[in-house]
């Protein structure tokens, strides 16, 4: 890290050292993500990854096809395009394939969210690609990370380093060589993105991915077993609990629970006091006071919602403690 503080674009000796480190980090990321270095762009603002990935593939007359559980950033892109189509999902959270099939001859882009960050639900990526016809594919791996292989056909893909427990502030967009991509933002010169990502963060992201992949094989099965235990014990000990999606079709480490008659924000506070940090998609905690569009699309209870993410290294004892903390907190809140 002490060699990587300089601006790699400058001419000084320190910059040359930084440039070597940058190239090594890029090569490592490319290898571990299954991408080519020359296809990759590093973003210091990962949320822009959706824009570069999707809007760069769109021509003015194109239709943007996306699901109703997609990220709000994707809805924002759709709002500025003339044509868009929204695919519904089954109660399981899976995109309705018959709706996609009807759009298979459409000229446009399919924004394909590989895994939903709010519920952890995975899509049948290859099945959707097979039914996408002429649509170009912008695949969003920002939640799935490297847990899911790249699709057999793609035009752009987007990763966020947080998905492999890397640092916040590093997004990676890959644009397949030969893809009909045009820079959706005003630009100068040949660079496709601002090149403003922090080099220390980029190096951290590359190292985090290397470490992640060393442990991933053994951790996937272990975290899936812990998530199953979490689901079983909470559903057995807390009545009127709604779980979004089936673990068999979800990321192994994310589970979304909704508890009837409970305010999500209060539940979050109680759990934090007990030593656990969880997230929420409840309307009560959302900035715009609207219910979660993801849970609403699936017909899942939107209030009293918490999202539990089990990180690598999480233990069975910690899951048991969390289960007990949730049971106590929900009982208290319902009684108050």
């Amino acid at each position: 890290m002490d060699q990587g503080w300089a601006d790699p674009r400058k001419l000084a000796h320190s910059a040359a050292k930084a440039r070597i480190l940058q190239e090594e980090a890029l090569a490592s990321l490319a290898q571990n993500l299954g991408l080519r270095s020359d296809e990759m762009e590093i973003l210091g603002e990962p949320a822009l990854g959706h824009f570069y990935s999707i809007a760069g593939l769109m021509r003015p007359e194109d239709t943007l096809v996306h699901s109703n559980v997609d990220r709000k950033e994707v809805f924002a892109i759709a709002r500025v395009h003339q044509n868009s189509s929204v695919l519904g999902v089954e109660p399981s959270g899976q995109i309705k394939v018959d709706e996609l099939q009807k759009l298979a001859k459409t000229q446009g882009v399919l924004a394909l969210q590989v895994a939903n960050g709010e519920t952890g639900i995975l899509q049948d990526v290859e099945g959707l690609v097979a039914n996408s016809g002429t649509l170009r594919i912008a695949a969003d791996f920002s939640s799935a990370g490297t847990r899911v292989p790249l699709p057999s056909r793609w035009d752009s893909v987007f990763f966020d380093a947080r998905s492999w427990q890397g640092p916040q502030g590093i997004g990676i967009v890959a644009i397949r060589n030969g893809a009909a991509w045009r820079n959706p933002l005003p630009y100068l010169g040949a660079t496709r993105t601002p090149q403003s990502a922090s080099l220390p963060l980029l190096m951290s992201a590359a190292i985090a991915l290397e470490e992640w992949q060393e442990n991933e094989g053994s951790e996937v099965a272990r975290l899936r077993a812990l998530s199953q235990m979490l689901r079983d014990e909470i559903c057995a000990s807390v009545e009127n609990c709604d779980v979004a999606g089936d673990l068999g079709q979800s990321l192994p480490h994310i589970t979304s629970f909704s508890f009837l008659y409970v305010q999500g924000e209060e539940l979050l506070r109680r759990l934090e006091l007990a030593g656990f940090e969880v997230d929420s998609g409840s309307a009560c905690t959302a900035e715009d006071l609207q219910p979660s569009h993801v849970l609403a699309a699936m017909g899942v209870l939107t209030h009293g919602n918490i999202r539990i993410t089990l990180h690598q290294g999480c233990t069975s004892a910690e899951v048991k403690s969390l289960t007990e903390a949730i049971r106590i907190a929900v009982e208290d809140l319902r009684a108050s």
């Binding site: 305010q263 309307a283 009560c284 219910p291 939107t302 209030h303």
Partner: protein, 71 residues
């Protein structure tokens, strides 16, 4: 029919109010609910699925909640 006015209440208060009032009626009886919270319709449907009761959307911000089973 019991009237339950939850206009102006934020999520999850309308559903909590329904959960309390449903205990005071018998199977076959209904509650006329008024609620303008954007989560109410979604959460009422989930509530009905989870508790085995029934709901009907009567109009904007207006719902009929029917008790289907003994507590």
């Amino acid at each position: 029919m019991k009237e339950l006015n939850c206009l102006g209440m934020r999520c999850p208060l309308p559903i909590i109010a329904v959960g309390r009032e449903i205990k005071n009626i018998t199977p076959g009886e209904s509650i006329h609910l008024l609620s303008d919270d954007p989560a109410t319709e979604i959460d009422l449907k989930a509530w009905a699925r989870m508790t085995g009761n029934q709901i009907e959307v009567k109009g904007p911000n207006e719902f009929l909640v029917s008790k289907s089973k003994v507590d």
